[in-house]
């Protein structure tokens, strides 16, 4: 298959990047490198790098545990320890993993944190989560509060508020744990690299405007955002990865090829969808298959914006490093209010010539799920395009009923087909 060889180069690179990172983490106790745990939305990766700190993202561990079919075990472990059934399953997977020896996705043991950086972005669970980790690890926490865009905009005082927290709390805490003085030039260097990677990422995601789309912007998209949401934003390796990826995708686009799926090339694009909400990770491949075997390609998704919304123009800015970090944190998708989210979905439908919007409502996450039905109805009203709704969970296999999800996806796609049918149009 022509797509395969092209895909592999960037995939290999990404794999290497991630493996090296986990390897370095596992060796931290020997090398003496300091480790911080932090969250994906509103992360300060460039800043951590400026202090030579190694970041760990518990959400990523949770989702990777699910992809390796370990989350059920971990969730059970956490529930045995007293965590209720309706607690966010990312949290329980993380706690369960910790209790079972803290072995990370690469099979190597993760080091304990020297500091917890609680980037509080929208979700109250973040606070409880690190409260639990603080107890488990007995280590300090520093909090960075990201104000919610309740009015749909970022004001200068919001930016000042965040920069102030960085200067007076976060940076001193990082200096203390790392023993390194804050050096703004190092941060600026990283920012420039971030900007280049971000521009390439946007080009990759926007390639889906092309017909047929050379990428899947959701199932494939989660791989593309991996490095930039993970520990690598602001590194030369990440900038290199995105350059490479962009080249590959543009090549595919020039050849008129569709996306590569785990089951081969999607050659016959029949449906172009916008998807709202995170994917299910326990049955990720099966879930994807329900789309690609029907010829459905996700051309744009909001989940791929959860660790940074770049396609509305934001870039990290080396001239104003702390200010742009503040903008970055506040701009993450789940920190946007509902009208902003609807505007974004509407824009995606238009710019990507989509056939409709499918919402995956996950049981765990209120940052996503609250208001999704309202958004769906408003979307239908504004665009006249059909909406669909499915329910799963992030990493709890008990909440993924394959037959139910497949039934709904197929019904939804047939609904789109029926709406397109000549007889329907003639009669309508």
């Amino acid at each position: 298959m022509s797509g395969k060889a092209v895909k592999e180069q960037s995939m290999v690179k990404q794999k290497e990047l991630i493996q090296d990172h986990y390897h370095e983490l596992s060796r931290a106790p020997e090398t003496g490198r300091k480790v911080i745990y932090t969250f994906v939305p509103g992360n300060l990766t460039e800043l951590f790098r400026a202090f030579d700190l190694l970041p760990v993202y518990p959400e990523i561990n949770a989702l990777q545990s699910a992809m390796r079919q370990k989350s059920t075990l971990f969730i059970n472990e956490a529930e045995r320890a007293g965590h209720a059934e309706d607690v966010c399953t990312y949290v329980k997977t993380d706690i369960g993993m910790l209790r079972r020896g803290n072995v990370g996705p690469s099979g190597e043991k993760l080091p304990p944190p020297d500091l917890l950086v609680l980037s509080y972005t929208g979700c109250f669970t973040f606070m409880k989560w690190f409260e639990l980790l603080r107890q488990e690890y007995d280590c300090p926490v520093v909090m960075l509060h990201t104000p919610y865009q309740g009015d749909g905009k970022i004001t200068p005082s919001m930016v000042r508020y965040m920069v102030e927290q960085m200067r007076t709390e976060v940076i001193p805490a990082l200096e203390k744990v790392s023993g390194i003085k804050y050096d703004e030039d190092r941060l600026k260097e990283a920012m420039a690299l971030s900007e280049s990677a971000e521009t390439d990422l946007v080009a990759v995601l926007e390639s889906a405007k092309h017909r047929p789309s050379p990428i899947d912007g959701y199932f494939g998209g989660v791989y593309y955002i991996g490095p930039i949401f993970n520990a690598f934003r602001g590194t030369p390796e990440a900038a290199e990865y995105y350059r490479m990826l962009r080249g590959e995708v543009e090549e595919r686009m020039a050849q008129g090829l569709g996306p590569v799926t785990p089951d081969g090339l999607l050659a016959n694009e029949k449906f172009r969808l916008v998807v709202e909400g995170p994917p299910n990770w326990t049955s990720f491949r099966e879930f994807w298959k329900m789309f690609h075997e029907e010829g459905a390609v996700v051309v744009a998704s909001t989940y791929t914006k959860v660790g940074g919304l770049y396609d509305t123009g934001f870039r990290h800015d080396k001239e104003h490093p702390l200010e742009s970090l503040a903008h970055y944190c506040m701009g993450c998708y789940t920190n946007n209010n509902l009208p902003q989210r609807i505007d974004l979905l509407e824009r995606y439908a238009r710019d990507y010539s989509a056939d409709g919007l499918l919402v995956n409502s996950v049981k765990s996450c209120n940052s996503f799920s609250a208001g999704q039905l309202l958004m769906l109805r408003e979307f239908e009203k504004r665009t006249g395009l059909p909406g669909g709704f499915i329910e799963t969970d992030l990493v709890d296999a008990r909440y993924f009923s394959a037959a139910n999800v497949k039934n709904r996806i197929e019904s939804y796609l047939q609904m789109i087909t029926q709406k397109r049918a000549p007889s329907a149009r003639a009669e309508a």
Partner: protein, 440 residues
């Protein structure tokens, strides 16, 4: 003549509908779903084909000036004869298998008296079957052979059982035999059976009329019923014995089927055994939005089934009992797992059975109403389908809640509501036969 077939494989029953080229229903068939979907689909289809044949016969009878006036009566009588014949064939099979089973080593000790009693019971069943019955003609088609046979057999077995051959021994044989009867499909020679049925009627008709009947029967048998296209849907649709392009989602089928039954329909609620669906359709029956229950079966038909089992009642008895309720009992949980416990707790606490049942029906409907709200509300007109639509207490609760939340709405329930999905599928078959739109 061209026929278009829709088959709906549900979790409890499998339905088939035949349409003619103009979209008129020619025939319908229903059977209980069993482990073999292929067989269930085949049996439902065979039954629908037979009923389509009778519809064609009725058309021929009506076209004959000498018989037109009596067309309906003749058709009913022919059906009755035909069905009796069909039942007797099945009973014959049951007898054969039962006697094979009565030779099993397991029952060797009582073999002789067991066979003796079986013969008496089966003879009695056959005699009952042969006795002319009136007034049950319409009902007959929807009654399953298994249910009829089971009720007759167990009644007679109770009379015949004693300390040598126990009731359980007899029922053990029956259970084994009926399973095998159900799981084999046997060709009923339709043409011959119909001719036989006609021959039975002729003597009472007078020479000329009798001749006419024979002629009309032959003409209608000459009509070739060509099943040009079949579309399948339903709960088991992933394993439907059809090609992928011949399968439509049950949601779309229910939407289109409800639209065909009641063209004013804009909102459809379907409560089936395994899932509940709330569907919005446009003026052409095209689905514009839908919601269905998640993986949890709470609040579906199956839940009422559990309650019925728990109370040792038939599921059809629940509604009428609940309607006798005089006191409001509030029940919030419709969790199937806790259904039994919830019920026992309340009974122990002294609440009355009918009040509890009324509360349970309301709880089921509350969940459905929430689903309706999520799908976009209840528009005029509102059509209720699925097995639960036959439950009067559920209908009462639904009417009340819809009125409270949305004001006056016309509530449609078709007597053929169980066929809604199959009807929608058949309409898709008709469309697919006309214009291959799905290829676009």
């Amino acid at each position: 003549m061209k026929a278009f077939v829709g088959i709906d494989l549900g979790s409890t029953t499998t339905k088939a509908v035949f349409l003619d080229e103009s979209g008129q229903v020619l025939g319908r068939g229903i059977t209980n779903s069993r482990s073999s979907y292929d067989l269930a689909a085949k049996i439902a289809r065979d039954e629908a084909r037979v009923s389509a044949r009778f519809a064609l016969l009725e058309r021929s009878l009506k076209a004959d000036e000498g018989l037109a006036a009596e067309a309906e009566r003749l058709r009913s009588e022919l059906i009755a004869h035909f069905h009796r014949h069909q039942q007797l064939v099945q009973l014959g099979r049951l007898r054969e298998i039962a006697f094979v089973e009565a030779h099993a080593p397991r029952v060797a000790a009582i073999a002789e008296p067991l066979r003796e009693r079986l013969a008496v019971i089966l003879d009695a069943m056959e005699a009952e079957e042969k006795r002319p019955r009136l007034g049950i003609l319409a009902k007959q088609t929807s009654e399953f052979f298994r249910d009829r046979a089971a009720s007759a057999f167990s009644r007679l077995a109770e009379e015949r059982a004693d300390s040598t051959v126990k009731f359980g021994d007899l029922m053990g044989i029956f259970d084994k035999a009926i399973l095998q009867v159900e799981n084999t499909s046997f060709e009923l020679k339709f043409d011959d059976s119909l001719r036989e049925a006609a021959a039975e009627l002729v003597p009472a008709m007078g020479a000329e009329q009798g001749q006419r009947l024979i002629r009309v029967v032959e003409t209608s048998l000459d009509i070739d019923l060509d099943e040009v296209r079949t579309i399948g849907t339903g709960y088991g649709r992933q394993r439907l014995p059809f090609a992928k392009e011949d399968i439509r989602s049950e949601i779309l089928c229910h939407g289109l089927g409800a639209h065909a039954q009641f063209p004013g329909t804009r909102t459809v609620l379907d409560i089936g055994g395994q899932d509940t669906k709330a569907i919005q359709v446009d003026e052409n029956g095209i689905v514009t939005s839908f919601q269905m229950n998640d993986r949890c079966a709470a609040g579906c038909g199956r839940y009422l089934g559990y309650i019925a089992d728990e109370m040792s009642l038939g599921v059809h008895e629940l509604g009428p009992i609940a309607q006798q309720s005089t006191r409001h009992v509030h029940i919030a949980s419709t969790c199937t797992v806790f259904a039994g416990a919830e019920l026992r707790d309340r009974l122990t606490a002294g609440q009355r059975r009918e009040d509890i049942l009324a509360g349970l029906h309301r709880a089921v409907i509350l969940r459905a109403v929430a689903l309706l709200a999520r799908s976009g509300g209840v528009e005029e007109q509102f059509t209720f389908t699925g097995g639960v639509a036959n439950n009067p207490a559920a209908v009462d609760a639904l009417q009340e809640l819809v009125h409270e939340n949305y004001g006056a709405r016309t509530l449609n329930i078709s007597p053929g509501s169980i066929y809604t999905g199959a009807l929608g599928a058949a309409l898709f078959a008709l469309r697919a036969g006309e214009e291959r739109w799905e290829a676009a």
